[in-house]
Subunit: 480 residues, 2 copies
């Protein structure tokens, strides 16, 4: 007979106490395979509990396979093997998170990925959100490509603003760029080779590499992908940012666009992935139409997100597939559910359809233009002529500062760190640095006020680029 | 001199009309490469518009690369190549969507994937949602693994309800099963082979195949994965549903669990993916603890979603990675953004933390148990003994009906279609059908009322399985 120390005061039901005790005895080999358990009647009597309590415990042990019921013979312990034990060192990730937090706070964050977080019409979004929370249909399963009203709204927006010609049926809603690229990878041949701009978008490159693709880095010629080099390569797919080259900020000229489309037209499995990131923000002239708008051969996959135009917290993007890739998508991904919550899809659809999105873009274009003009003005004001070149202006949310002076990059980085300035180097976007590369930095202005831009550029000039060189600068700075 | 037909009444600004006209002339080769455009001054005079209007149009053409400004010489047309034209047959997908809609409406939908959509506490979700829409921080970028409060809430829930031991640092929030599996694929070696249960979860299989993996289908022995066959195979990774085998509904016994853990412990790159789908719903005894709770070797990747417990419209799931896979995740996926909207993460975190989730699960367990008991009762009532076997009961949202009578499967499917009954065959979940397979059907009960279950099972018995065979049944039914 088993004696089980039952705690009648415990919140744990009796049957679970019995179940856990016997389970423990089996796992620590106090009860061995083949041993017969007491009948539920006798165990119940012994423990002074009802027989159904013991029955319930035994049923659970049977359900999980610890014991077996043999008809008319009773309950027997099942054979169980033992498992090798390895130490788990689970604290590593926690530690690394702690060290991150100890970093010095930034005084000026020129992060080129930032957006303005002050001027979003939160109240509109909230009120649309509150409406959509009242729609019970939003709690049911949606369309696996994304809901029709949102796809219709995006198709209309793309036609009007980007010249992209597509039907809602060609649009797939995804959860940001990485997710959309992962989905695309499923559609391509596994042995496909993907060409990317060098310098280019490293996060996209990482997703494609992680998905197992070989990448060929194609250098730029006159600030746009060199299609001659692409043509000589073995690439099947080409990833480009034609409206606003990332990170150089240049526009791919029409002749190069047509060369690229011709390259794609010459191979059955050739495709162009057009990443139309931050194309919404041009401060001179009208927006540059998308490459997709020139494509009559069904070779361009157009990808956009709302990370820059609305917020990176809204995890939504979309891709427009050419018709015959749509067929492959239906075959291969027909059972994937759309990863975006239906309520957020409905809010965004309303936000676009009711004109709030266009209004917001127009407003932000004006605000960003103010910041853009301000940073250019301040760069001219605080830097002497000839020491730096500015490029990548007139569009996007950052400008490029190319430095022609004597300071080494390490020194520049050391000084800017000391000054509390986040300064993103262009170097990190290259796979192979071109001959004659000058230290170049991306200066994001989107989330800085004009006052902060003034102060920050001044600090950048005085404390980083123009400060006198001092071999003791480090030891001096240690004394407060 | 170019003559441009300007429409002064049009809403399109003059500069865009000029830009579009010249662009058209270049694209249709009326203006050829090398041709000089009129000076902006003379064109402005000719068109009777201001010079700045023409300047703006020219700037746009320069920005897009159609024309080039040569210093002191004026504007010249750039060379542009022509593109091969292919016909686009873009209407295919639209057509197929139309035909889908013409299907006859179902009278009884025994879809095993359905959930009860009536009893979700929408008002609670809504009010939490409205609170979170007021938090401005929810519009900023979040943690790439998912926000800490949600990961903490999930870790607490998993510890209490599933015996899963993990820190929030090991949890990755994703957008449903397909997305989580795609993410996992990035972590595995490209040449890994994945073992899956046969019969098993076909959608998961499709995601893994589409991601380029070889799949080995492992038959079940006594309704659980045969670890002996797994051991003899070349598989590195094993995908299992131990708490509630999908689709058979059986529990993997403890001995088999330990064999499986031992298999994994014997190879450095071996892993077990534990898909703990609908484990929340057991109607007898307490929930079966997760396989992960037995794992002391860091080999089990635990995956769960909220599709069954809350709604498939909430695109949220999570995986718990063993510590050293976490390191690989940080290296390979460190720059992927979490695909779930921050507001929904915050709502769900509150929903769990404030106890609503547990309350909802307890309530649904009671409601589903009622429907489960009802479908069993009705099956016994309307089907004669010996003709059918019921299995997969006591857990999940469907039961299995195995048919031993003379009707062929085609006939059963024809009849159920005619009767307006959605009947999912077990056949489709097998890679290779076992010897002696009897026609078996998954009867989902989650989204049917008890009245509808009564009516539906009766209809299933009378009009499908027990109806007299008639060789003219089809032609007769055509006459209304």
């Amino acid at each position: 007979m088993i004696t089980i120390p039952l705690d009648t005061q415990s919140a744990t039901p009796m049957y679970i106490q019995i179940y856990e005790y016997i389970r423990g005895e089996i796992l620590n080999a106090s009860l061995l395979a083949g041993e017969k358990l007491p009948s539920s009647r006798s165990l119940a009597a012994n423990l002074q509990v009802s027989r159904s309590t013991v029955d319930t415990a035994y049923e659970q042990l049977v359900a999980e396979g610890y014991i077996e019921a043999k008809e008319k013979r009773g309950f027997f312990v099942n054979p169980i093997t033992h498992i090798q034990q390895f130490p788990i060192s689970g604290d590593d990730s926690r530690k690394s998170q702690k060290t991150k937090k100890q970093e010095k706070p930034l005084r000026f964050d020129f992060n080129p990925d930032a957006i303005d977080t002050v001027h979003f019409p939160y109240s509109v979004w909230k009120s649309l959100g509150k409406n959509q929370l009242d729609v019970p249909g939003n709690f049911l399963s949606g369309d696996h490509q994304g809901d029709i009203p949102l796809r219709q709204a995006i198709a209309d927006y793309l036609r009007g603003s980007r010249g992209v010609r597509c039907m809602p049926e060609q649009i797939i809603i995804g959860a940001g760029l990485a997710h959309l690229l992962q989905m695309l990878c499923v559609l391509f041949e596994r042995q496909a080779t993907i060409a990317m701009e060098d310098p280019g978008y490293r996060s996209a490159r990482q997703v494609l590499v992680s998905s197992g693709y070989d990448i060929i880095d194609i250098p730029l010629r006159d600030h746009a992908l060199d299609v001659e080099i692409l043509t000589r390569s073995s690439a099947d797919i080409c990833y480009v940012t034609p409206s606003h080259q990332f990170p150089l900020g240049s526009v791919m000229p029409i002749a190069r666009r047509q060369e690229l489309l011709n390259w794609a037209a010459q191979g059955e499995n050739r495709y162009i992935i057009e990443d139309d990131h931050d194309s919404e923000f041009r401060y001179k002239g009208k927006p540059i139409p998308a490459l997709q708008s020139l494509d009559s051969t069904g070779k361009v996959i157009y990808i956009g997100t709302f990370s820059k135009a609305i917020s990176p917290a809204i995890r939504m993007g979309y891709m427009v597939l050419p018709p015959h890739l749509m067929k492959r998508y239906q075959e291969k991904c027909g059972s994937y559910a759309c990863p975006v919550s239906r309520i957020e899809q409905a809010i965004l659809a309303d936000f676009i359809k009711l004109g709030y999105f266009e209004k917001h873009l127009n407003r932000m274009r004006k605000i960003y233009k103010g910041k853009h003009d301000c940073i250019l003005e301040k760069l001219h004001q605080y830097f002497p002529e000839g020491l730096v070149d500015i490029s990548g202006d007139n569009a996007g949310l950052y400008v490029l500062l190319c430095y022609h002076g004597p300071l080494a990059e390490e020194e520049i980085e050391k000084r800017s760190k000391k000054a509390g300035i986040e300064l993103r180097s262009l170097r990190g976007y290259y796979s192979s640095l071109p001959a004659g590369y000058c230290p170049t930095y991306l200066l994001g202005f989107a989330n800085l006020s004009e006052e902060k831009i003034d102060e920050g550029i001044r600090c950048l000039a005085e404390q980083v680029f123009l400060a006198p060189e001092s071999c003791h600068s480090e030891s001096v700075s240690e004394v407060p």
